[in-house]
């Protein structure tokens, strides 16, 4: 009985151990804000939570899932549970996909799948929602191989909760697996239906709004994969790195020796995936995963060359929906699963050479992924760390929540990302649109530094676009903003950046000011606001 429990539990225990090792300081009290990852103390349901504000529904339904969990748990705990669950689901899934094979095979595959450059770079970029889909991938593949009854549908829940990119990498993987697996057309039909149904929360608002959202081809140059190792662009992608943002490359990734070792392991793992038969069985979903990985690698590498980028720009001009291939490194996710299974196969080959080799093979299976990617340890050496929100944010939230006047909130400075001093200078999406209890209009354009200068990917929110010229001008703001349906203006970030806006807010009442945030009310009942608790 005890053995049976251990057999079920150990992959999750390993996942938990890796999660603690990777997240480290991010599990301390407080919130971890990193690039796209923003969690707040009391998340609320807002129109933006459901993709109803005219922008692309990038956080649908992940924000809704967070808000739902936030109704019963503190926001900080929700974040830590979600981040830890990525490692548990990934490890558990890889081991479950190899059910019936020797433990050493399952262990090596599980550890590699949860600890590789793809996970590290996307985690540091704060893309927990994408990683939910990634973590659920082995479960979805397992379900695609045998979609009988209804229990298999649960395998798609992580990707469904993660939203559009999580679901896209899942569909890219499971559709070939189902088509080329034992279930044939019937399995393909069922899995396709699951993909469509689980995509509806973001697919519907995307299709309804697509004509209104501009497609900015500048994103192709900004978000194309790049060489972040000495292996070049293709070599980086083949070894599961190559993210567009140089700031999220984990420390120690780019020296020559570990890069070459990762390449050797990747090549050996792909070979082992094709030929290894641990436990007397071939590795699962060989044909389907090979097709998905090859397709993913082609998409991911499209932006590495000038002609490839030109094709992507042409495609996006043709149909804005093709913008999903701009940040193309995400598409190596199926290759990560294939490589992990191959690493399991390698461990099986090593362990099968003699009885005495089993423990060393297991040690190597655990140690090798960590040694090949030491930079993920302890929140990538402090790049992920929990911090407390300034008291000013809570005060602004209280005032806005207590106010009874109708109207939205405008967020200034007119940028989407911040490098707060109180967050150690780390870049993060401004948390106030999720922190406050009203709809916040902000400039959702993003700015990416490059050798050719700043690349700016244009504003998508129609209300932000309508206000853009006003806010960039030197004209007074209070009157036009009041007429446009705004009740408050909130400023955050570096106070030195506030001066150029404060002088233009004549006619608005400053109802709160602190070192990290200031709040202005735009209508005449401001005295009531200033007395709010």
């Amino acid at each position: 009985m005890r053995n049976r429990v251990w057999h079920v539990v150990w992959p999750y225990a390993v996942g938990g151990l890796l999660g603690v090792l990777a997240l480290g300081p991010a599990l301390a009290p407080g919130f971890t804000l990193a690039y796209d990852m923003v969690f707040v103390p009391e998340p609320v349901f807002l129109p933006s939570t459901f993709g109803l504000t005219g922008t692309l529904p990038r956080a649908v339904p992940s924000d809704a899932a967070v808000a739902l969990l936030g109704t019963v748990l503190p926001g900080a705990l929700v974040q830590k549970l979600i981040l830890l669950s990525l490692f548990l689901i990934a490890c558990g899934g890889a081991a479950a996909l190899l059910d019936g094979r020797p433990a050493v095979v399952r262990l090596a595959a599980a550890v590699f799948y949860a600890w590789n450059p793809f996970v590290a770079e996307r985690l540091l970029l704060g893309q927990w929602a994408l990683l939910l889909g990634y973590a659920g991938l082995p479960w979805a593949v397992r379900a695609a191989l045998d979609p009988r009854g209804l229990r298999w549908v649960w395998a798609f829940v992580p990707a469904a909760a993660g939203g559009f990119m999580a679901m896209i990498i899942t569909a890219l993987t499971v559709l070939p697996v189902a088509a080329l697996g034992p279930g044939g057309r019937r399995a393909l039909a069922r899995v396709s239906l699951a993909c469509v149904v689980f995509a509806l929360p973001w697919l519907v608002p995307s299709l309804v709004r697509q004509a209104q959202v501009p497609s900015d081809a500048a994103g192709v140059a900004a978000f194309a994969a790049r060489a972040d190792t000495p292996l070049g662009g293709l070599g980086s992608l083949f070894t599961l790195s190559g993210v567009w943002n140089a700031e999220v490359v984990p420390p120690g990734l780019d020296p020559v020796l570990p890069s070459v070792l990762r390449l050797l392991v990747a090549v050996a793992a792909v070979a082992a995936f094709a030929v290894a038969r641990p436990g007397g069985m071939h590795l699962p979903a060989r044909a389907g995963l090979a097709v998905a990985s090859a397709a993913g690698l082609v998409i991911a590498s499209a932006g590495l060359t000038g002609p490839g980028r030109a094709v992507l720009v042409w495609l996006i001009d043709l149909w804005p929906g093709f913008a999903v291939v701009r940040d193309a490194q995400q598409y190596v996710a199926p290759l990560a699963l294939l490589t992990a299974l191959g690493v399991g196969g390698l461990a099986g080959l090593l362990a099968g050479s003699s009885r005495r080799a089993r423990v060393p093979a297991g040690v190597l299976g655990v140690a090798a992924p960590l040694l090949l990617l030491p930079g993920l340890v302890w929140g990538a050496w402090g790049r992920l760390a929990a911090v407390d929100y300034p008291r000013d944010f809570e005060r602004v939230r209280e005032i806005v929540a207590a106010d009874r006047e109708q109207g939205d909130v405008l967020l200034l400075p007119w940028e989407s990302y911040r490098a707060y001093a109180w967050n150690g200078g780390r870049s993060s999406l401004d948390p106030l649109p999720r922190y406050l209890t009203r709809h916040v209009v902000w400039n959702d354009a993003v700015r990416v530094a490059s050798q050719a200068g700043d690349l700016v990917i244009g504003t998508e929110d129609p209300r932000a676009r309508a206000l853009d010229s006003l806010i960039r001008s030197a004209a007074p703001l209070a009157g036009p903003l009041r007429a446009a349906g705004f009740r408050f203006v909130v400023l955050d970030g570096d106070p030195r950046e506030w001066n150029r806006f404060q002088s233009r807010l004549a006619g608005a009442a400053k109802v709160y000011s602190g070192p990290h945030a200031a709040l202005y009310a735009l209508s005449w009942k401001d005295a009531q606001v200033s007395r709010a608790p």
Partner: protein, 42 residues
Amino acid sequence: MRLLIAIVAGVVLAVGASVSVVTLAAPSPSPVDKPLFNYGTR
């Protein structure tokens, strides 16, 4: 039991070696100074 030994030994070995590798490769792990409003750097 053998699995447990493999997991513990693997993690201990890897963490120990990781410390030395990263210390050599990236002696200053603190976040670099970045512009105030950038999403990232290519």
